[in-house]
């Protein structure tokens, strides 16, 4: 299987490649449009800031390329947020694959929820084969200050300040707000599902 991880100006790209190696899969990291278009599976990861990332993608027309892909695509963290319609992070217009809006968590004063959310939280109301053999309320690793609201594309929910979309799905596009590549055995199962079941 030909797996491509999209390279762009965001962090944490290598970690996904290493996680795939641990489950016995190999992937190439590239920004070459032909390699991306011809891949069997495409992973769009990233940690960083939305407007800088979108500018970079637009300058190289990678945003149009990604939106037009027909094969299974998995966006992770910032990657998933960039696949949404709009992000409050520096008022960024994103790719619009998912209709959801990405909003900033409001910190809760006096020792309540902190922003960004950093750490392990549960995922529930799991839908689609992406979560085959993953039990409800499994813990996954999150690092983010912005969240996608619940909507028609929600396939996993997490509660932090409020219930929000921890995973999205529409047609061939999937996205997770958490990091499967850092979510121990649960994350490895989700990556395997993306490679084998979708």
């Amino acid at each position: 299987m030909n797996i491509v991880i999209i390279k762009y100006n965001a962090g944490n790209i290598q970690s996904v490649q290493y996680a795939l190696e641990r489950i016995g899969a190999s992937a190439i990291v590239t920004d070459d449009p032909e390699a991306i278009a011809s891949a069997d599976k495409v992973i769009f990861p990233g940690v960083g800031e939305a407007s800088t990332a979108m500018e970079y993608l637009r300058a190289r027309q990678l945003d149009r390329l990604i939106s037009g892909l027909q094969q299974p695509v998995l966006g992770i963290c910032l990657g998933m947020q960039l696949m949404c319609a709009y992000s409050e992070e520096n008022n960024t217009s994103c790719m619009g694959i998912f209709d959801e809006t990405v909003r900033l968590f409001q910190p809760q004063p006096g020792g309540g929820e902190k922003v960004p959310q950093i750490g392990w939280n549960t995922i529930f109301n799991l839908k689609t084969k992406l979560f085959d053999a993953v039990t409800e309320n499994s813990f996954c690793y999150f690092v983010h200050g912005y969240y996608a609201s619940l909507g028609e594309h929600t396939i996993a929910t997490t509660d932090y300040v409020l219930p929000y979309s921890s995973a999205l799905h529409k047609q061939n596009f999937y996205g997770t707000q958490f990091h499967p590549e850092k979510s121990a055995g649960v994350g490895e199962q989700i990556l395997k599902n993306f490679l084998e079941k979708i």
């Binding site: 962090g11 944490n12 290598q14 970690s15 290493y18 996680a19 190696e21 641990r22 940690v47 960083g48 800031e49 910190p107 006096g110 020792g111 929820e113 902190k114 922003v115 960004p116 959310q117 950093i118 750490g119 392990w120 939280n121 549960t122 813990f139 690793y141 999150f142 690092v143 983010h144 200050g145 509660d159 932090y160 990091h179 590549e181 850092k182 979510s183 121990a184 055995g185 994350g187 490895e188």
Partner: protein, 252 residues
């Protein structure tokens, strides 16, 4: 619900894990990657690797080590120790570190925090603070591994650092470190309620109830310990099972 985190800390010298008590009787404790994998299997939520290598020359081995760790472990990890520039951080992140921690260099040049947050995002910038409560009752910032006292109050520096873009604070009480008499609940609570970022409490964990105390009364988001895990006085599973019994949310 977001789980409270238990974080083992590994001291690294010249690419190897070392164990010692208060920087004395330091001896080799094996390959950091193997130990990291073992901790991850035992339920560690995150790992901190603290490089105590003395010379810059030998620091080159650190980036190779970070790359091996990133290949080997399936949970997040932070790398700290002697980091003083954007370039230092770039190399560590490119090799797979999830976060980096800065301490003395950030205090001497607070602009570093702003540069790192802008370049890599606040989520990967952990500010480590070593603090000691003096006879006047105030908590002061110490530098250079606790050897140099400053006149700056811990809360003031923490607030400034968060304003500059630090995404998380790793707070070590020098009064409690190594004592196994419990974490510093008051200063941890002061930071946890005053600041909008997660607090990792460090120093003093000796029993399972100490961990429960700092995660409830202390208001910490995570608790870090080194020697009690290395010397197998308490296992990570024992800590987490106890926290679970106390209805504190943990990942089991």
């Amino acid at each position: 619900m977001l789980a409270k985190r238990i974080i083992p800390c590994l001291d690294i010298r010249d690419g190897r894990t070392v164990k010692g008590v208060n920087f004395e009787n330091i001896r080799d404790a094996g390959d950091p990657v193997e130990l990291g994998v073992l901790y991850a299997q035992q339920g560690a939520d995150e790992l901190v690797f603290l490089d105590i290598t003395a010379t810059n020359e030998k620091r080159k081995t650190l980036s190779n080590l970070v790359n091996r760790i990133a290949h080997g472990i399936n949970i997040p990890f932070t790398v700290g120790g002697g980091i003083s520039s954007v370039e230092d951080v770039k190399i560590l992140l490119e090799n797979g570190a999830d976060k980096i921690s800065v301490n003395t260099a950030a205090f001497k040049n607070p602009e570093l925090i702003r540069l790192l947050a802008r370049e890599f995002g606040s989520q990967c910038v952990v500010l480590a603070i070593d603090t000691r409560q003096e006879a006047d009752g105030q908590w002061y910032v110490y530098l250079n591994g606790g050897r140099v006292k400053t006149e700056t109050l811990c809360v003031d520096w923490a607030r400034q650092a968060v304003d500059l873009g630090a995404g998380e604070l790793l707070l070590t009480s020098m009064n409690h470190d190594g004592t196994k008499q419990g974490f510093a609940l008051d200063i941890t609570h002061a930071l946890a309620t005053a600041l909008p970022v997660p607090i990792i409490a460090s120093g003093g964990g000796g029993t399972v109830s100490h961990f429960a105390d700092v995660l409830t009364a202390g208001g910490a988001d995570a608790a870090l310990a080194a020697s009690i895990f290395h010397f197998k006085e308490i296992t990570i599973a024992e800590v987490k099972n106890y926290l679970h019994q106390q209805a504190i949310p943990v990942r089991l």
